[in-house]
């Protein structure tokens, strides 16, 4: 471990020089800008003098000034060229690059005229190529400008995205906050519900409603689609359903009325599948109606599992004037009622297979005898295990109920 420490504490001497060179040529610092402006001014002066020299009758003093000016220009350009080589990460690559040649050509005529005066005129004209040095300046300025603009736009986008994500998080939190945290406390029955929201905001919801007559309303529902529209429609559906549940003792009538309300305020043509049941904790009778939801399952004490009949009613929000027939089932002590959304049975694994009803039935059969909490827990972890690394595309919502009269 000591070697790297020693290396970094004693940087090679050239690094300091290179850093100095880098602050003058390249970069966006104040020295680099000043140096750049100086070079720019010299390019302008030198181009002007190239033009002046083409005039024939120049006074002697002008010629002296021009010669002195050329000396200064070449010294500065040579210095710049050297600095650029020093500052370059890959020195050879710079020397052989386009601007490496341009920089060399800008000074070469001066040094070469000393060697052979025959090419003097040609070489002097080559100095016009110094105009190419301007191009670098323009390009560099443009690139710096674009980079800055891009960075600004990126950060604006990031801010907007962070805000959107934050708002979605709040919406999701609100969405799960309106779901009841626990089953109403009633002698003789208990229930557990759980919703695991998908990454994109989904539209599943469940509800337990304490009705005026002492019975308990049980809702399992799934809004078509995802995202903010689905979340809004879910909130409207849930509120309407709750309101109507207090007014109608018949589950079918409650769904029919809720359907009218949803059809009247449904600009996006969304719809919601709703299972609505009313459990009498005294008698164990569950009366229910089904608006297009997959039928809940009743696991009997003898190990058989029945799907509640009466499925196939139209989903809510599609068409007004639909009636929903009410059905009822007598729950027996030790029976378990399992309500779920298709996020359970249509959870996919990486091999693109669906979890399916059979796996759900097997889990219920195995864990039926325990508490409703344990049953929900087991089914959820079985779905999670099955899906593995596959992304969860839909909300996974599950409720288990038990009637156990005193």
């Amino acid at each position: 471990m000591s070697a790297p420490v020693a290396l970094s504490s004693e940087p090679p001497k050239s690094a300091g020089l290179r850093a100095l060179a880098a602050t003058l040529v390249g970069g966006d610092g104040v020295y680099a800008r000043r140096f750049d402006n100086l070079i720019m001014a010299l390019i302008a002066v030198s181009l002007l003098s190239v033009g002046l020299e083409t005039m024939s009758a120049l006074p002697a003093w002008v010629k002296t000034v021009l010669r002195f000016e050329e000396l200064v220009v070449v010294v500065m350009f040579s210095l710049e060229y050297l600095l650029r080589i020093i500052a370059a990460d890959n020195k050879l690559a710079f020397v052989f690059s386009f601007y490496g040649f341009v920089d060399l050509l800008a000074i070469a005529p001066f040094f070469l005229t000393g060697l052979d005066t025959r090419f003097l005129r040609v070489l002097r004209i080559l100095r016009v190529l110094r105009v190419l040095k301007l191009q670098r300046r323009v390009l560099e300025t443009t690139v710096t400008e674009r980079t800055r603009e891009l960075a600004e736009r990126n950060s604006a986008l990031e801010r907007a995205q962070a805000q959107l994500a934050e708002e979605l998080n709040v919406a999701r939190a609100l969405q799960s906050a309106i779901l009841p945290a626990a089953f109403p406390v009633r002698t003789g029955c208990d229930g557990t519900a759980r919703m695991t929201p998908a990454t994109t905001m989904g539209g599943d919801f469940y509800d337990f409603i304490e009705l005026p007559d002492g019975r308990i309303g049980i809702v399992m529902a799934d809004v078509s689609g995802k995202g903010v529209p689905a979340a809004f429609f879910m909130a409207v559906s849930r509120t309407s359903l709750r309101e109507q549940a207090a007014r109608y003792s018949d589950p079918g009538a409650c769904l029919a009325r809720t359907n009218e309300i949803l059809c009247a305020q449904n600009p996006l043509d969304l719809f919601v599948t709703v299972f609505y049941g009313i459990l009498d904790p005294v008698t164990g009778v569950l009366s229910y109606a089904n608006g297009g939801h997959n039928p809940p399952l009743v696991a009997r004490a003898d190990g058989s599992i029945d799907a509640l009949d009466g499925a196939g009613g139209l989903v809510l929000g599609v068409m007004p004037g639909v009636s929903y027939p009410a059905h009822s089932v007598q729950l027996r002590p030790d029976d378990r009622l399992v309500l779920y959304t298709d996020g359970v049975t249509e959870a996919f694994n990486p091999a693109d297979e669906a979890y399916g009803v059979e796996r759900l039935l097997a889990e219920i059969r195995t864990h039926r005898a325990g508490t409703t909490e344990a049953l929900v827990e087991r089914i959820c972890s079985s779905v999670t295990d099955f899906a593995g690394a596959a992304p969860q595309s839909d909300d996974i919502t599950l409720t288990a109920l038990k009637w156990a009269p005193q």
Partner: protein, 118 residues
């Protein structure tokens, strides 16, 4: 979902294949709308042939609903045909098979919708 369109006289047939889930619903909707727009005026009709459709989510069902409504608004005939077992169950469970015409195969659908040229 993969979509192709055929035309038999006045009947436009949209053939859907693959999985119609939330992610695919928007593009499927667009293609069905284009097919509807190109179908022409009554007594034209639109059939969505779902022989190759493996899966339909609730967002996918919505596209069928919108197509049926659209067709009805423009006075066109509309039917769905050749649903596979799993998809047919979704149609039955959601009550959709009661609000739109579902035929067991294309021939039946064509026989019901095709209006012989005058």
């Amino acid at each position: 979902v993969k979509v192709s369109v055929e035309r038999i006289e006045q009947v436009t047939i949209v053939i859907a294949e693959g999985r119609l889930d939330f992610g695919a619903a928007a593009s499927f909707q667009l293609q069905v709308e284009q097919a509807l727009a190109a179908a022409g005026k009554a007594p034209a009709a639109l059939i969505i042939d779902s022989t190759g459709l493996e899966y339909v989510s609730s967002a996918g069902l919505r596209v069928f609903l919108l197509a049926a409504r659209n067709a009805q608004r423009s006075g066109l005939g509309f039917a769905v045909c050749s649903l596979r077992q799993g998809v047919r169950e979704v149609f039955e469970l959601s009550g959709f098979s009661r609000v739109m015409t579902v035929h067991p195969d294309r021939a039946t659908a064509l026989a019901q919708l095709a209006v012989p040229p005058a």
